[in-house]
């Protein structure tokens, strides 16, 4: 991510002057990302709109996996998050952010479903108060 154009020399990000070969190379990177993202999006829409392809109860999980894969494609091909030395701080920040996101989403779902199970339905509460 730190260097939008992949350079062999890592951190230097030299004057950012690009030759014609670099430009076409960089553009090709985005086109590969576009192709992969289009493929994953297409599969997601197909799974959601046709009932025959996937066992129905597994559809939300299949869609989640496809969404995660597409986010990975975006991170690598568009945001240029790599495993290179410039990127370590960014990857660490992303990992911490993901931890918080997981805690928030799954924590909320976990607690609220249990709450839902344990709380008396509203109609019965209303009846008891009469």
């Amino acid at each position: 991510m730190s260097t939008p154009i992949p350079h062999a020399h890592g951190d230097v990000a030299p004057g950012d002057e690009l030759g014609p070969a670099d430009v076409s190379h960089a553009i090709r990177g985005y086109l590969v990302g576009l192709a992969l993202a289009t493929l994953l999006t297409g599969v997601s829409f197909y799974i959601a709109s046709s009932s025959a392809l996937v066992w129905q109860p597994s559809i939300p999980i299949a869609l989640s996996v496809l969404a995660l894969a597409q986010m990975g494609v975006h991170l690598v091909f568009f945001l240029h998050i790599t495993s290179g030395p410039d990127s370590i701080n960014n990857v660490m920040a992303l990992a911490f952010g993901l931890l918080i996101v997981m805690l928030l989403v799954f924590g909320s779902l976990w607690i609220m479903t249990h709450l839902d199970h344990n709380v008396m339905p509203m109609e019965r509460v209303m009846k008891m108060q009469r």
């Binding site: 260097t3 990000a13 559809i59 568009f78």
Partner: protein, 223 residues
């Protein structure tokens, strides 16, 4: 004379960016002599902001996930969401994020046609996205499925509306960046701002991937 007490040298005329790295009287357009290059530091700082933005969206997303069944006998996602519209929105945003990448390449290579053309394409596609979303919201509210109808719809409008607001703000930022490059050229500080804008725009598309998959597609999927 120490740099701390001295007024900023002429380099700050570039628009009031705070200097990175304490005390070095460093003109904005220069790279520091040692340590990581300034663009890496700036991108890292902006990345931290973007992650906090992602956490904001995850909070809205969690509230939507909890409330998605609380339809109060009103319309559900299956009644309201139209997949062709969502597919069109997704295509617009995906293409605009690719054009945004092309614009970054154009700015680095200092090719005016590539830069301005790609930025214009990014803007048009983003504007189409916002227009489709506004039309979708207007249709839903007109059909009596506004944010006040049920907890499900409150959470839906908050989540999708927050993303739409981000995209609209990004469109304004995009126009600003076109104007800044036009007025000031491909200076190092302008290119850093452009890098931040590109990161912002790509991140919005990542958030949209989560939204179209887990809000719209899961909402209409057969079960």
């Amino acid at each position: 004379m120490s740099a701390g007490t001295e007024a900023f040298p002429g380099g700050v005329a570039g628009g009031g960016l705070a200097r990175v790295g304490g005390g070095h009287a460093q003109a904005l357009t220069e790279e520091p002599a040692h340590g990581p290059s300034k663009r890496i530091v700036v991108a890292y700082g902006f990345w931290i902001f973007l992650i906090s933005d992602i956490i904001l969206f995850s909070a809205l997303f969690a509230s939507y996930a909890v409330l998605s069944e609380a339809t109060a006998d009103g319309p559900t996602g299956r009644d309201l969401f139209e997949l062709p519209t969502v597919a069109l929105e997704t295509a617009c945003l995906l293409l605009s994020t690719v054009f945004c990448g092309f614009a970054g390449i154009g700015a680095q290579a200092r090719r005016n046609t590539l830069y301005y053309g790609s930025m214009a394409a990014t803007f048009v596609l983003g504007a189409i996205f916002v227009a489709i979303e506004l039309h979708e919201f207007a249709t839903m509210i007109g059909a009596g499925a506004g944010p006040g109808r049920s907890a499900f719809l409150s959470a839906f409008f908050a989540l999708i509306g927050c993303h739409g607001l981000h995209v609209s703000a990004g469109l304004l930022w995009l126009l600003t960046m076109m104007a800044q490059v036009y007025a000031k050229g491909y200076r190092a500080d302008i290119r850093r701002r452009l890098l931040c804008f590109a990161l912002f725009w790509h991140t919005l598309d990542i958030i949209w991937v989560a939204l179209f998959s887990l809000v719209y597609l899961v909402g209409v999927a057969p079960r």
